[in-house]
Symmetry: C2
């Protein structure tokens, strides 16, 4: 019994009954509110719509048990859906049996990779992606979503020949646009857009409480879907005006089956799975973190990865699509007052009931309405303000954003993200390679030493005080050395040089050797080199070195 208890997640053991009603309500609300999205994301991923529902059961359940976040809800999300489509559509025809099997294999492989990241505590690898790179990636992907979904609003058949081919294809078929679809989709788009961006604030100005206003805002899109569906059924829009609808969804449970991916697929899918795993991991960790800060909780990145990985592996068993931590899902969860992952378990059970009771009326949901809802979500994913902040603060970061975004759009997802990572690393290397080094003097009457160009300070004759504002390593040693020699040559009759090491956090082997050479060379010229304010950990390492012995 004790063993059984220790196997249970912390939140189950410490569960407080007072949270039960909150969790119950939140779980039911999340399922109902995100149901249209789940269908839409499956369609976006190029998969049969029911897979979006299947992916909202078992994976959600597994994540609730294993994940580290109390509030985050996983499920089909925009970014994993567009990634699935972009990564797989060059390899198989969307909607085909082979495509569905590949999506399953992709879930499984990326899930396994994420699980391995978590087990080997490689969560820190997600630090390879800077925010501008992630922002550029998500913005680029959002434009891909828009390009992908516009066809449903216009009701034209797009021949998929890359992103620019799609645009050309749409322009060519301009005369074939279905005005009824455009009207319905357009109205839907406007309502979704206004609701998402202005409704809450407008309601608040009318004196409605923030909680109510945000619940109304979240319910409105569902109402639009329901009303448009009722209209379609009542007015027979799908036959009278040729408005495309979701179509029949089998009212059955996902068959728990599992096909081992073929070897050839494994090879083809390795890089896509890695990209999906990487981006999924970063997004999940970032969001879990942000939610935890809001609730004064802490998350464990590696546990988070194990949860996300297991969840995706489970998806593969019910023929589903890759899942991720969903912004909307988690926000609904938080806003509905969910307290523990029990809300997610309730949500999974609710979806199970919906599938059992029947999903026939889903078949009449107009595709243009779903597309409109996705497009509004996609527009909000384009992180222009993030780009502007980066632009104003650090041009190199803004450049990484642009390169990643356009890389995703013009080339492909993999190349975009790789370009972004390479740029960030190159930028980092370049920065640490050109360190800030200043000559300092003492502020009169204090023990403080400051930059002689910024402050009024006193200096000593025949001596030089230099503060090095960077860790010393192979990449910047030569420029540090040049600067040191330059400053030495400026001081007449110099006999001592003091290097102030308060900002030197590390000295690597190359730096140690060069410093030793400089020390010995200066000694032969009658100049003594001294070190001041060396940090504890740096000093510890220097104790047994030639440098230390020659000081």
């Amino acid at each position: 019994m004790k063993l059984l208890k220790s196997l249970l997640p912390d939140w189950v053991r410490d569960y407080q009954l007072k949270h039960f009603s909150d969790d119950l309500l939140a779980g039911i609300l999340v399922t109902i509110l995100v149901l249209p999205q789940s269908l839409a994301y499956a369609i976006l991923a190029g998969l049969p719509p029911q897979l979006g529902l299947y992916a909202s059961i078992l994976p959600v359940f597994v994540y609730a048990i294993i994940g580290s976040s109390m509030i985050q809800a996983v499920g089909p999300v925009a970014i994993t859906a567009i990634m699935t489509f972009s990564l797989l559509s060059p390899l198989a025809t969307p909607g085909s049996v082979h495509y569905v099997m590949m999506a399953t294999a992709l879930s499984l492989m990326s899930g396994l990779l994420v699980l391995v990241f978590g087990i080997f505590r490689l969560g820190f690898l997600s630090n390879l992606l800077s925010r501008p790179v992630v922002g550029g990636f998500i913005s680029g992907s959002a434009v891909l979503i828009l390009l992908n979904q516009i066809k449903f609003i216009l009701d034209v058949h797009v021949i998929d020949t890359g992103n620019w081919g799609q645009i050309a294809s749409i322009v060519q078929q301009f005369s074939l646009i279905n005005p009824a679809t455009l009207l319905l989709g357009g109205i839907g788009f406007l309502i979704f857009f206004m609701t998402r961006n202005f409704l809450t604030k407008w309601l608040e100005t009318k004196g409605i409480s923030n909680f109510r206003a945000s619940m109304i805002t979240r319910l409105t899109p569902l109402l639009v879907v329901i009303i448009s569906t009722i209209l379609t059924i009542q007015l027979d829009l799908d036959h009278q005006y040729d408005i495309k609808v979701v179509g029949n969804i089998p009212s059955e449970l996902p068959y728990l089956s599992f096909h081992l991916p073929e070897n050839s697929d494994l090879v083809l899918l390795f890089v896509p799975a890695l990209v999906l795993a990487f981006i999924g991991a970063v997004q999940n960790i970032t969001m879990a973190h942000a939610l935890a800060i809001k609730r004064h909780e802490r998350t464990d990145s590696n546990k988070e990865l194990i949860g996300l990985g297991s969840s995706n592996i489970m998806t593969a068993f019910c023929g589903g699509m890759p899942v991720g931590g969903g912004l909307t899902r988690s926000a609904v969860n938080l806003a509905s007052g969910a307290q523990t992952p029990l809300a997610s378990i309730v949500s999974a059970l609710t979806m199970l009931c919906i599938l059992l009771i029947g999903v026939e009326w889903f078949s009449k949901i107009p595709l243009c309405i779903l597309a409109a809802s996705i497009m509004v979500a996609a527009i909000s994913m384009i992180d222009l303000s993030g780009f502007w902040r980066a632009w104003n603060y650090d041009r190199a970061d803004a450049f990484s954003f642009l390169v990643t975004g356009f890389g995703v759009l013009i080339l492909n997802l993999q190349i975009g993200i790789i370009l972004g990572i390479l740029l960030s690393v190159a930028n980092l290397l370049y920065r640490v390679s050109s360190p800030h080094i200043v000559v300092v003097g003492r502020i009169k009457g204090t023990e403080h030493f400051r930059n002689i160009e910024r402050h009024h300070v006193e200096t000593l004759p025949c001596s030089l005080f230099l503060r090095i504002d960077e860790s010393l390593f192979y990449g910047n040693l030569s420029s540090v050395e040049s600067k040191l020699m330059l400053e030495i040559s400026k001081v007449p009759n110099i006999n001592s040089v003091v290097l102030i090491m308060s900002a030197v956090n590390r000295i690597d082997a190359t730096a140690l050797e060069v410093l030793t050479e400089v020390l010995l060379a200066l000694k032969t010229r009658g100049i003594n080199l001294h070190f001041a304010e060396i940090k504890g950990p740096v000093q510890d390492r220097l104790l047994n070195t030639v440098l230390y012995k020659n000081l």
Copy 2:
């Protein structure tokens, strides 16, 4: 006239006549002392021996005019020779006409690349190589040289099938070893080895001055070559005992010709040329730097690259071999008292005279003696002490050394160096990703704040002082944030947190966003976040940010 004068290098305009005799003597000495080496390195590179002599004329002249170092002497060196052999032998049969043409093309291309590095001021790129990586690369190359030269001492015909194939081939032919060659080569090896490692010190213990002792040490190898050549001629060793000799060298000047490399060769040679350019540049800059420090001079990395590049381009015009900054050459130059690059010009002219007067007797130099001299030089290139220093100071650096060295040996030069660079960058990223963060307190009665675990300090209730010993960037923000939250959770009734930023040299866009989020999140919990000792350049950038406005 003024224009002409301004085109002259600085050292020519400022030339002091008193240096003339020093430069003259040094120039002549260098040529004579390194002559056997020049032949040997050409053979090591798989080229006809006279190319080593040709490469000691025009390239040396060009470098003297264009290079930035006053003392460094370029010419055929061990590392470029073995690199030429390793890079080209998979592409053409060593010694063949095509091979010689490829070597010329390789010189030209690597020269152009180095020149471009210099013109575009990319000298800083050489900072990508840490000393342990360079050490590992050179040590690995040295072992390649030993494997390559052993055949001349044993006088066996080695079928070149990779490094391990060579060893197997030598072992198989153990019974075919020529005892006469082994004896002569072995004696030569012993004398060279003892001379190089012990002679100077031994002579000094006998009361001979350091200058004389080192000149005797440098002359001895030349004497060994001369004596062994005379012995070979007198005793007819090459016919009586089948001792291989250098063979006929055409006593003519290098024909100034130039063949544009074929397109197919250009493609094949691009990566090898890049590797050669990269390593050549690093070695040259490092050595020019070290020599300049000894002489209280300064060098300009980019000018240095322009000199080295032009020098290699010139090599290509006289059908020569790639050249580099030579340790032995430069050391002889320095020891002989050279004061300016005039010494190198004298050296080039001396070599020209030798070629004109006649090189017939070079044909009888025993190959085993040249091989022995190269092997002794190669042994001294194996940087075991550098490895030990790295091992004792920083295991990760030692690991980079090993991986690069074994990569060069087991795989090839290109892969070895790439592995080394990747490891160094990964190591750097890993280090900055896991920053040192300490809780500090004030040393009583002072303004100094120190680690509470290392010093006896006083702290305030309800507050936390944290010193972050690393620049904040996308790679370490999450660990900084975790550590911050952990420490906050340890202080009861906490209401203020002070981050001491004295060691934070940079805050990138990702870090800025996370800090802003943390600041706002803490504010809602009634905790104020403060920053202290922000560096000038960091503060300048923060002024217009959301973070600053919310402080």
